[in-house]
């Protein structure tokens, strides 16, 4: 069923109004639908909030082709089918078949509406050949799902090319977190684990480090396939990296080293059961930095995130973790010196 109608390009209005208009035009006032459009690259992209609605309107040239599907029988996989890069990524993050059945009210939405599963971070400070990937283990039942091995890599040194021992990803477990993100691949060389260089460390050491950091693992790799690297100036193109933080102009430039955030994060989750009562998170003993307190508050949500999706009230907190960590970074020198001076008053 096709309808053709016009909109004021300069004043598109709100998404709700547009949605109402669609229902009106199609005479389906009580049917939930998914709205999509084709962008300039021919990709099918969703319209479900003001931002992507505005974006869609602004890209109309001059025609904007809109697709409407009944929500019950929506074919989620249609979205972004032709997207060249990160196809899997988008799908894996957004469309989790095991979850959408339980929770039919998924709306394709802003990245912060989702619990991150993985992200590429620090794009601006790393060489283009490297990729720093963060795997968020908490709350998922999915295993991390990868293996590492010893190997050797070739380095350029003043003496010429030199073979040095290195650690490589040897296998991805189908359905595991590592595979589903699409950010890691077999034969990627592991360079750092949560900011610590692995060179000179044995396979067992690196294994232990990764397991110790498994709840918030940040791996810097040199991808075996260098063709899929994030090209920096295409960051704002919009369609390719929506689910990665790196494409968010607001957060990327400020984050210097994201991994420190995770370090503080994963610790406060120890649980105490007093007198056989209810389990509680162990609070952090009072410390000087306020940011830490809010941080530990934020940890509270992790236990409740069993199914992967969070109630929206919590997601904001989660997103704020990023900014908190930045704040923490600023406090960092101070806080350190306090600890070093061994005058912690408790």
């Amino acid at each position: 069923e096709f309808r053709r109608f016009s909109l004021e390009r300069s004043k598109p209005g709100k998404f709700e109004e547009f949605y109402g208009l669609l229902q009106h035009v199609h005479k389906i006032p009580n049917v939930d639908v998914l709205v999509g459009y084709t962008d300039i690259h021919g990709d099918l992209l969703p319209i479900n909030n003001d931002d992507n609605y505005h974006k869609a309107v602004s890209t109309a040239n001059p025609l904007l082709r809109i697709f409407i599907q009944r929500k019950e029988d929506a074919d989620y996989s249609a979205f972004g089918t032709d997207t060249m890069t990160r196809k899997k990524n988008v799908l894996a993050n957004v469309l989790r078949p095991d979850n959408h059945r339980k929770k039919p009210h998924i709306v394709i939405s802003m990245p912060q509406d989702f619990r991150p599963v993985s992200s590429i971070i620090d794009v601006d400070i790393l060489p283009e050949t490297h990729r720093r990937v963060r795997l968020y283990k908490y709350g998922t039942d999915k295993p991390l799902g990868f293996y590492i091995r010893d190997g050797s890599s070739v380095r350029v040194t003043p003496q010429g090319l030199e073979k040095v021992p290195g650690i490589f990803i040897s296998r991805l477990v189908p359905g595991g977190l590592a595979q589903s993100t699409g950010l890691l691949a077999v034969n990627d060389e592991v360079l750092e684990v949560n900011g610590i260089e692995v060179s000179g460390k044995s396979l067992d050491q690196v294994t232990d480090m990764m397991i110790a950091n498994s709840r918030n693992l940040i791996i810097t790799v040199r991808p075996a396939n260098q063709r899929n690297n994030v090209v920096r100036n295409s960051r704002t193109s919009g369609s390719s990296g929506q689910s990665t933080e790196s494409s968010l102009p607001s957060s990327t430039p400020n984050i210097v080293t994201n991994f420190l955030q995770g370090e503080e994060e994963s610790d406060e989750e120890d649980i105490i059961i007093e007198d056989s009562g209810e389990p509680q998170q162990i609070p952090k003993a009072v410390r000087s930095s306020e940011s830490l307190e809010s941080l530990s508050q934020m940890e509270l949500l992790h236990e409740s995130t069993q199914n992967g999706f969070l109630p929206s009230s919590e997601t904001n907190l989660n997103h704020s973790a990023g900014s908190i960590s930045m704040e923490y970074e600023e406090h960092h020198p101070d806080h350190k010196s306090l600890e070093d001076g061994t005058i912690i008053t408790l």
Binding site: I148, S214, D270, I272, D340
Partner: protein
């Protein structure tokens, strides 16, 4: 990056650290692994032992020890002291000769390698031409005679090790005057023995392997006598007066030959096959010792009847009608006799026989009737039965010390009272500052108490737990009870006995309270024994209690070993530690943790299923707590013990093979090659229960990823298949996965700790029991112990107060409570004995939880996290052992502090401050491949430690500047030297004049 930000630039603290901490490996205790050569200097009264890894160790009077290491790490084949010198020559299996000297340096002697030399033949000669088979340091101290495989004898000058070609004895020269028919029958073959004439230094006896023996005159460079032996020669020995010598042979015979100027080609005086008439094994070494009463001592190695006793490692001593064949527990490497070495003495008068067997040193007193063994003050065979655990107790009160010694002396009555005969050198080390005990648990169910105060690790007392149980071994099965008329007259000597009657007897955990004399010992089959020190023999019934650790679990079936059967009725115990109560864990899994509180009279124990608390005063079980995850089928069924023991034995045999191929000790600098490292790696891999499939075969803990309970066999099959596939694809890979509550063996209780602290509220403190598991859980129980006057009337009560789940779920390896002054709580009874300040009960207490991955401080009573130190996340190392140690300053006697000593799986030792958990210093200590070394490490309370460098040796190390136990000794050249020298000189001149 973090480390860069770390502190450590406070100059005051840095200076203090230098005054507090210092790392030294100070001394090796125990018996050298794989000894290969023995030497003795009657002049210095020092004994030297060489090993297959190229180490050379000198021992004299107790405390006098020297150690050297050949860079080549090759097997030491022979050791010869230079007569009347502080020098010795070693021959390695690469045919190199090394000259070592004891040099005095700032008041103490040191063993140094001076020179090395490899004999080179004429160009084009085969390597066998210069392969050294016999070494004779000449009494002139200037020459070294080297017999070779080619039959030539080469001469090198000492101490330069310069060859003197013109002096060499060529085989052709020797054969010149040998009768034609004899000569045709046999050529010279290799030189088996070189012996200098005891009275005439110008004559040496050369024995060739085919049986020919010649007396060679050094002055005239010619053969003076031919002795045409008909049997393959093994060795030679001169009689003291030089009128006769004795040769021993491959066929188990020995022959006496007269030496006189009348007959240049004498017939043998006597040819004896001591254990004939049936074919006998070779006699490889023989002594003929004269005595005042005219009856000689004939002492020889081997010669046993081939068919029935060919497997024995024997040395026979014959003195008149007395004859004993000492039967050793392992291969005899070499032996020597200590006899009167005074040149003026008319007779040998042997006093002792020193035998180096492969696994132990045995010294026989030849003067006392019955030839009893002498108890060696050092070189103890730690591995008589394999060591399964160790426990160190510092600063033993004198009273307890004396009682232990007295109990031990009653066990040692069969030893000779002879003073230790090897008594060269002087021990300069100050008396040890305190009495320390090292307790080792063994596979055969014994606990050995070692005096670890000083350089000599000395056995004080041996405790056996076997008597409590019924075992298959018949106590009357005694090898020594041989009838009078048994032939050969074998007598077992030595203590090495690696065969355990029942592996379930193995000791796994030991806890000794030095104030009360209470001892708790726990073993492989879930047995926990509480003992008390009794100075008298006693016969009593051991109370028996069962602790069912699986109370809440239904429908399990334990598939591991059964519990040990106990003896009914009263059991007779010898003086010493006597068990009075046995707590049997059910299922009888290996006891993994143990704690004893002698003041509260409580003992806590844990296994892979849970833990329990027992009141040994009232002999009542207070409570048990099951820690097992219901789905943890593997731990439930208990294949761990079986598979582990199989795995362990495989690993050990691997290790044995490896050791025999490449000696593994002393490779510290060399950085072993990959083939050696691999068995260790696989062992190391198995340590972590959280890593799976890809980690190598045979590791059952890997099965934890199977979320549904599989039959073990199926899983094994699947695992094998998987592992095979893995091996084809990628031989070594590691799975990266977070730990989860469903992992296997999370309930495994790793640590137990008693503390009097604020568990519930900050106003009242109470006794508490803390337990940490493999899955990162800490349980805290509040205990109510009745006051002393009502101790027997009211029961001890316990109530769970807290449970802490560490989110990283790493195994908890240590729990500690710090008092209001941040000082660790004292040991039980320590305050009562005025040996410690009372803990500060005013300020707030803190809880330190050490997991394999991080150290974390929590506040008490409200548990909130306060501080932490991450090790694994930042460095990739995991905590293996942790202890609180007190470090005193070497500069001022009034400053000391408590720190944590942490050993990681990489073999590093880190010292971490309390209570702020700041890394102070890090020392590499053990090779990371040396998994058994790391597992065996035990720290003392004063910053020292021990770890096994081989099954039979502890390396002692010190982290403290103040407490350092190391050999410090001097070897003075006895006055006698110059006289002796002159005597010898004149001897040579006389001889020269005569000829």
């Amino acid at each position: 990056m973090r480390r860069f930000l770390r502190p450590g630039h406070d100059p005051v603290r840095e200076r203090l650290k230098r005054d507090l901490f210092q790392f030294n490996k100070t001394v090796e205790h125990g018996f050298p692994h794989q000894p290969s050569a023995l030497g003795y200097s009657p002049f210095l009264r020092l004994m030297a032992i060489g090993t297959r890894s190229g180490a050379i160790k000198l021992y004299g009077a107790p405390g006098v020890e020297f150690m050297g290491l050949h860079e080549e790490n090759n097997t030491v084949m022979q050791i010869h002291f230079i007569p009347d010198q502080c020098q010795l020559v070693t021959l390695l299996d690469d045919n190199s000769l090394h000259l070592w000297s004891l040099k005095q340096h700032s008041g103490a002697s040191e063993l140094q390698e001076e020179r090395r030399f490899t004999l080179k033949g004429p160009p084009g000669s085969p390597p066998s031409a210069t392969q050294v088979t016999a070494v004779l340091p000449h009494s002139s101290r200037e020459l070294l005679y080297l017999g070779t495989e080619s039959g030539s004898v080469f001469v090198v000058e000492l101490p330069s090790l310069r060859p003197l070609e013109e002096r060499a004895v060529a085989a052709e020269a020797v054969l010149q005057r040998v009768p034609e028919d004899y000569c045709n029958r046999r050529s010279c073959e290799l030189v088996e023995a070189l012996r200098e004439h005891p009275k005439n230094p110008n004559q040496i006896l050369i024995g060739y392997s085919r049986g020919l023996i010649v007396l060679w005159d050094l002055q005239n460079s010619q053969v003076t006598h031919h002795f045409l032996g008909s049997q393959q020669l093994e060795n030679l020995y001169w009689q003291r007066d030089g009128s006769k010598f004795i040769s021993c042979h491959y066929d188990g015979s020995y022959t006496q030959w007269p030496v006189s100027n009348d007959n240049r080609q004498p017939e043998p005086l006597e040819n004896v096959v001591p254990y004939g008439p049936f074919p006998c094994k070779a006699i490889s070494k023989i002594y003929w010792q004269t005595t005042k009463n005219g009856l000689p001592y004939i002492i020889f190695q081997g010669g046993m009847p081939r068919a029935s006793y060919g497997d024995r490692h024997s040395i026979s001593v014959i003195h008149g009608s007395q004859q004993t064949a000492f039967d050793f527990t392992s291969r005899v490497i070499d032996f020597f006799i200590i006899f009167s070495s005074e040149p003026t003495a008319e007779f040998d008068d042997p006093s002792a026989m020193v035998v180096l067997a492969e696994e132990e040193l045995v010294v026989i007193d030849l003067k006392s009737a019955g030839w009893p063994a002498v108890h060696p003050p050092y070189l103890a065979s730690l591995h008589c039965s394999a060591i399964t655990c160790s426990h160190h107790v510092s600063n033993i009160p004198l009273k307890l010390w004396e009682r232990i010694i007295s109990a031990g002396s009653k066990q040692n009555i069969h030893y000779s009272t002879m003073p230790w005969p090897i008594d060269g050198g002087t021990n300069l080390a100050p008396d040890p500052p305190q009495r320390d005990l090292l307790l080792t648990g063994h596979e055969d169910g014994t606990v050995r108490f070692w005096d670890a105060s000083g350089v000599c690790l000395h056995l004080l007392y041996k405790l056996s737990t076997v008597r409590v149980f019924l075992t298959d071994a018949d106590p009357n099965d005694n090898m020594n009870t041989l009838g009078e008329d048994e032939w050969p007259p074998l007598r077992k000597v030595g203590t090495f006995d690696p065969y355990s009657d029942d592996p379930r007897l193995g000791i796994q955990k030991i806890y000794l309270c030095k104030y009360s004399g209470y001892l708790a010992v726990a073993g492989t089959a879930g047995q926990v024994l509480v003992m008390e020190l009794n100075d008298e023999d006693a016969e009593h019934v051991v109370d028996h209690a069962e602790a069912d650790l699986l109370q809440d679990q239904e429908g399990y079936r334990w598939k591991g070993h059964e519990k040990l059967k106990t003896r009914d009725g009263p059991v007779r115990f010898e003086a010493g530690f006597q068990p009075f109560v046995l707590v049997q864990c059910q299922p009888p899994a290996v006891v993994t943790s143990l704690a004893l509180h002698s003041e509260w009279k409580l003992v806590a124990f844990g296994t892979s299923h849970g833990f329990g608390l027992f009141d040994h005063q009232q002999k009542r079980l207070v409570f048990v707590k099951c820690t097992l995850h219901p789905s943890d089928q593997l731990a439930l069924e208990g294949p761990l013990s079986r598979v582990k023991s199989l795995k362990k034995s495989l690993r050990q045999s691997f290790r044995r093979i490896r050791r025999s191929r490449v000696s593994s000790r002393k490779r510290r600098g060399a950085g072993g090659n990959t083939s050696e490292a691999s068995p260790d790696c696989s062992a190391q891999r198995s340590r972590s229960a959280s890593l799976s499939w890809g980690r190598g075969r045979g590791d059952v803990s890997d099965l934890q990823n199977v979320s549904f309970p599989l039959k073990v066999q199926e899983a094994n099959a699947k695992f094998d298949q998987d592992a095979l596939q893995e091996m084809e694809l990628a031989p070594v890979q590691r799975k990266i996965e977070a730990r989860s509550a469903e992992d296997s063996f999370t309930g495994f209780v790793r640590t137990l700790y008693f503390a009097d602290t604020f568990l519930r509220d900050s106003s009242r403190h109470c006794p508490s029991l803390w337990a940490g598991t493999n899955g990162g859980t800490v349980y805290a129980f509040c205990l109510r112990v009745p006051p002393a006057e009502r101790r027997m009337d009211e029961p001890v009560r316990a109530e769970q107060a807290k449970e802490i789940q560490l989110m990283h779920r790493a195994p908890v390896v240590g729990i500690l409570v710090l008092d209001g002054r941040s000082t660790p709580l004292p040991e039980p009874l320590e305050v009562a004995h005025d040996l410690s300040k009372s803990p500060d009960m005013q300020g707030s207490h803190q809880l330190l939880v050490v997991s394999e991955e991080q150290l974390k401080v929590f506040t008490l009573p409200k548990v909130s996290s306060k501080l932490k130190l991450k090790l694994t996340a930042l460095e990739g190392c995991r905590v293996r052992k942790v202890t609180v140690a007190n470090f005193g300053s070497c500069k001022t006697s009034d400053y000391s502090e408590n720190d944590l000593a942490v050993l990681t799986n990489l073999g590093d030792i880190q010292i971490i401050s309390l209570p702020f958990l700041k890394l102070q210093i890090r020392y590499p200590c053990i090779r990371k491949e040396d998994v058994s070394g790391i597992a065996s490490c035990v720290f003392t309370k004063y910053g020292q430690g021990f770890y096994l460098i081989s099954p039979s040796e502890f390396e002692r190390f010190s982290l403290s500047t103040k407490w350092l136990v190391e050999p410090q000794c001097i070897v003075d050249v006895p006055e006698l030297t110059s006289n002796n020298h002159v005597n010898n000189r004149s001897g040579v001149e006389n001889a020269a004049r005569k000829s």
